[in-house]
Structures are given as C-alpha cells and as structure tokens.
Symmetry: C2
C-alpha cells in the first residue's frame, strides 16, 4: 500500500440513477469524473450528462489518468467481484460501493485482507423508486442519510475517503455495521414493500369499478406494489436472513388479528390497533425527522392559470413562508382546493389577508383536511 493521495479523480462504475447522480454531484463539487457501464447506451447517456469529454480520460493526451477513488454503483450481486477488480487494477485507489445490502459484500471482500484495507461499503438512502441515468441529478443526496459500513480491516484513510464523498454530495453520514444495516433495511424498507405488495395482490379479484371507489388510504398503502419485481425479488432473497424474523412477527400479529375477529374479541383487536398506533408515533414524518408543527389553510380556487401565483403573492405581501402545499382537483369541476402548510402565526396572517382580498379561504386548522 502506498500512502493515499488526496482525491481528485473519481471513477464511477455503473451508470444507473445512483451512479450517474453521484458523478453529477461530485463533478459540481470540483472532482474530475469518469463513468462506465457494461451497457454502452447507458454509459454514453451518463457521459453526456456529466460532460465527460471535458473530463480526465481525454484530458492529457492518450494515457489513462489514474483515479484515487472508485465507486461501484452496480446491482448488488456484481459488487464483490467489481471491488476486487477495481482494487487490483488501481493499486493505490480507495473503493466504495453503494449497494442496498451489506452482509454479503462485506463477507466476500473480507476474504481478501489487502483489498479490505482500501474498501468501505456504503449505502445512500435515496432514490430507489426511480431508475436510469436520465432521472439522475447531482442534488439527489442533499440532506439524505448515507450509511457507511467499514470492514474490520478497512483503513481509517479509506473511511475518510468515503466520508469525503458523502459530505461532498451534501448527505449525512451514519455509521452502521453490516448485519445491523441489513436488519434495519429489512424493517424500514423491505417490510413496507412486502406489506404493500401483499395488499395489492390480495385485492386481485375486485373489479376495476369497485377499486375505483377507493380513497387515499388504499392508494398510499399499495403504492410500493408498483416497484420492479426483478429488483425486489433479488433484494428480498439477498436479505432473507434478516427479513424472515420480521415476516414471522408480522404473521403472528396477523394471526392474532384474524383470531380476534373470528371470535369477535373486540378488546384484542383494539389492543393490536392501539399497539400499531403507539409505534407509528416513532416513525419519522414527511421530512425525515419528527413531524413539523404546521397549520393548514384551505383555499378554494378556480382551476386556471394565475390563481396560485396570486395566492403566493399574497403570502409574500405578509412575509409568510409556505412550508408545504397540496392541490386537489375536483374531477369535472372548474374549481380546485389548495391547502397551504404554514406556521400558526403565518397561517393566521395569510388567512386574514386572503379573506380581506375576497378569497374563498377557510379557517386554518391543525390537521390536514
């Protein structure tokens, strides 16, 4: 091992959403990037996006420039071999991956202690529901959690390189062990996928007309069922050791609920729903942390250009900061419902102001309607 050089040149292997977004973000942060993919078409799109022809591979004539950091951004099954290949080809480079599971990768790479010194496994918690280089953006990771998982033999300088990249992309590094990581992912990512898919599959005998009577509840809970089965079957199986205990617990509670309904044991059903409600309070809200204390201001508008601009102008006139907003259309009608989320003080200010200006605005309320 040489002493590590500072990172200037970064090679990204894998031109999907995450790899391309990393390349875009690091380029903006001043690094020199190259990106490659076994899919030539994906590689070319990503290279166009990051403007690689102005990058290092063609910069200094014909000789290849040596990257100080390699980022493996491929599907998880390919990661261990690519880590070894990259580490062997660039004998001074540090290597990180961004795979969604850690145990297998860590176990495989730890078989090669010399390589493990220069490898740190990582996992950005962003962007899994969209894919492809065209969906990439350099700010994808800003403010997102990015887990990093050093191996037992990972050198501290390698960890520093991983942290440098995570920080340069605006993400928040969080340390977790490999087994711990995979268990957490089973709970917060794989179990929601399972619950959502089970619900959707269960309703397969209902008619489209009857499903069309559903409100937002079914829509939200079944949303993840739209995910790619190729990707998710692979993920669930790669993580089955961590997932199965959660599935067993889920099954137990389901069986308890079925029994309490069969026996008309209202008290027991209530107990299950109450435990679910109590635990739900521990799950982070919309902004990845605890729920903010917004007030909601409903306004009925005409469904035509200029209405929202006028509302925001009005907010601006009273120096109110709109924290969030929803727009609900009424099918077949010319009106829409806009709900602004504001601080309580701002909600009151905007309410008075809009009311005086003749808007169909309703009293601010503490829960969204």
């Amino acid at each position: 091992m040489n002493d590590s050089a500072p990172i200037h040149h970064v090679k990204v292997i894998g031109a999907g959403l995450i790899g391309t977004s990393i390349a875009l973000g690091l380029k903006s942060a001043g690094y020199v990037l190259t990106i490659e993919d076994e899919d030539i078409s994906a590689e070319e799109i990503a290279q166009d996006l990051i403007g690689q022809n102005r990058g290092f591979d063609l910069a200094e004539g014909s000789d290849e420039v040596i990257p100080e950091l390699i980022i493996i951004a491929t599907p998880i099954l390919a990661v261990p071999n690519l880590v070894r290949e990259a580490a062997e080809r660039y004998s001074a480079a540090r290597v990180i991956d961004i795979g969604g599971l850690k145990s297998d990768v860590v176990r495989e790479v730890e078989k090669f202690p010399e390589i493990a010194k220069r490898f740190c496994s990582t996992h950005p918690m962003a962007g899994r529901e969209i894919s492809g280089a065209l969906a990439a953006r350099g700010d994808l990771f800003e403010g997102r959690i990015w887990i990093y998982t050093p191996l037992s033999g990972t050198e501290s300088r390698t960890v520093d390189s991983a942290l440098e990249v995570i920080t340069a992309l605006g993400a928040i590094p969080v340390l977790r062990g490999a087994v711990e990581h995979d268990r957490i992912i089973a709970g917060i990512s794989h179990m929601p996928q399972v619950a959502s898919s089970l619900l959707s599959a269960t309703l397969k005998d209902m008619s489209v007309e009857d499903l069309g009577l559903a409100g937002t509840g079914l829509r939200d809970v079944s949303r993840l069922a739209a995910s790619n089965p190729d990707l998710w079957a692979e993920l669930l199986h790669a993580n089955r050791a961590s997932l199965l205990p959660f599935l067993e617990e889920f099954t137990n509670i389901l069986n308890d609920l079925s029994t309490s309904l069969q026996n008309d044991d209202l008290r027991k059903t209530h107990e299950i729903l109450e435990a679910a409600r109590v635990n739900h309070r521990r799950i982070p809200g919309k902004h990845g942390g605890k729920k903010r204390d917004y007030w909601y201001l409903p306004i009925i508008i005409d469904d035509r250009p200029g209405q929202l601009a006028a509302i925001f102008d009005a907010c601006n006139e009273v120096a109110a900061n709109v924290e969030d907003l929803s727009i609900e259309h009424t099918p077949g009608q010319e009106s829409g419902l806009v709900t602004l989320a504001l601080s309580k003080v701002d909600a009151m200010k905007v309410f008075d102001h809009l009311l005086n200006a003749g808007w169909k605005v309703h009293q601010p309320r503490e829960s969204i309607g």
Copy 2:
C-alpha cells in the same frame, strides 16, 4: 304515507365532521338546516358554524318546523334506532344515514316495512381520517363518490330525495347493494388499514434511531396506523363477515412468500411481486381516477418567503397551469426542492422561462424524482 313534499327543511342528527359538513353544504345550496347532537358542546359548535339561529327552528316563532328530510350522521351502532325514532316522529319525512357499513342497518330497518319505504342508506366516501365539527367544510363532498343503497322496500321518491342531497353537495352517486358495499369497503378501506397497522406493530422493537433512517416508503405504508383504534376496532368487527375472506387471502399470500423466501425460491417470490404489480395498475391514482399524464419540473429554491411567489409569477407569465406541486426541505440547509407537475407542453415552457431567468431548474421528467 303522504305524498312527499319537496325538500326545504333538513334535520341532521349527529354533529361530527360528516354531519356538520353536510349541514354546511346543504345550507350553501339553499336548504334550511337544523343540526342536533347528544353532545351539547358539539351541537353548539355545529350550530354556530351553520348559523342556525338564522335557520328554521327559531324562524317562525315558537312552533317546530317539520323537516322533509332527516339525515342520521352518527356512529353506525346507533343508526337503526335513530332511523326508527326519526321516521316515527316525522311521519312524512324521508330518512337517510351516512354510515360506513350497510348490511346491519339495512337488515334492522327492513324489519319495519313502513319505515323502510321512507329510508335509503348512503355512504359518502370522504373525510374519514379527520373528525369533529371544527374540521367540517361544506365542500367536503365535492367530486367525491357517494354510495347509495336502497332497501328492498324503499320507495323511489325516497331514493330521489337521497340523490337530490348527494347531487346538491356536488358528490357523485354510485348505486351498490348492502352486502356488496360492505365487501367492497372491506377490500378498499379495511384491508389497507389492517396492512398498515400490521406493518407498524411489526416494527415495535426497532429503535427510534433506526426508524429515523426510513424514507418515504415506510411513511406512506404505515400512515393509516395512526387511525383511531376505538373507531377502527368497531368498524372491523362490524364488518368481519366481509373482512375475514380478504384476511384469509392475505394470509395465504404471506405464507407463500415466507415459504419462497425460506426455500430461496426466487421464481415464486418474483411471481408474487409481479402479481402485486399487475394488480396495482388497476388501483386508482391520486385524483380518484386514472393517473394523469403529468411532467415533473424540479427547482432548487432558497428556503425563504417570495421564492414560490416568483415561481408562480413565472408560470403565469407563460400561461402555464400548475397541476400539482411538492416541496421538500433539506433538514439543516437553507435550500428546498420544489417539484411542479404540469402538462408536458407547460413543463417545457416553464423550464425554458425559469432557466433564462437564472433559476436552478432541472429538465422536466416523466416520473417524479
């Protein structure tokens, strides 16, 4: 039975969210309203909201004005008795309820054929996640589905009265039989509640720190777990005959998935996820119908007043109509991500316009990022 009079005077029994919203909406539509509730405080709030002192009960001196329509808007267990009481007290009035389940109410009222003539059961598909008169608004039902369920003996004039009210409130009447209604509700409303609560309860042993690493998937799928267990235990038990077959199917698919994971049978897991994805396409999207064909335009803004107003002014300048919008804050940073949903043509117009004006706007894309 007298010939039915046209409806002028309506009495609402039950001053919760639905009852009060109905009263507000019908008052706006020109009807004369009164509302009552066994909870005097709730009754007074609702009466204030609808301005009942300008209503009919005090209008013409001291004698009670006779309503032509009674709307029972109480919890479901109280409905059958209240229907009988109302029908007996006002012998020419039509009566409807708005309960979330139909079989029990219909069976109870059908025991009294003379009353059944003047009763039609109904169920507005709106507003179940909020409660109380203070959350009421007269436009709650605009554009929403409102199921109506005549009894075998219901007179057509009674059905006409129900349809008159539904239509006056801007809702869309949909006919369903009682048993059919309850089976549909088990699928589209009670099963999402069950799946969401099971997921939340399953994660009870995870630490708050680990739950804090979760993204939007867990949040959306577990959202309904926050629902009121008193209300939901009662609903699930009242509908258990319709719910149990769905629960059995859900359990079967869960067991299949557990088995395929235990046996590392990737093909079978894929098949389950694929069936879920295929069925998900039949579930209505955000606006209660098929998904709209929006393009999404991401814009990075400073998190301060005036930014959104400026964006909407810019949209207005190019006559673009913003169909939807999301705002994402980056914790601990001064910037936010605004994503506008627009038609493809408008997205391109706004993109060019904002880019020229120096905004940090990204290429419009077909899926939300």
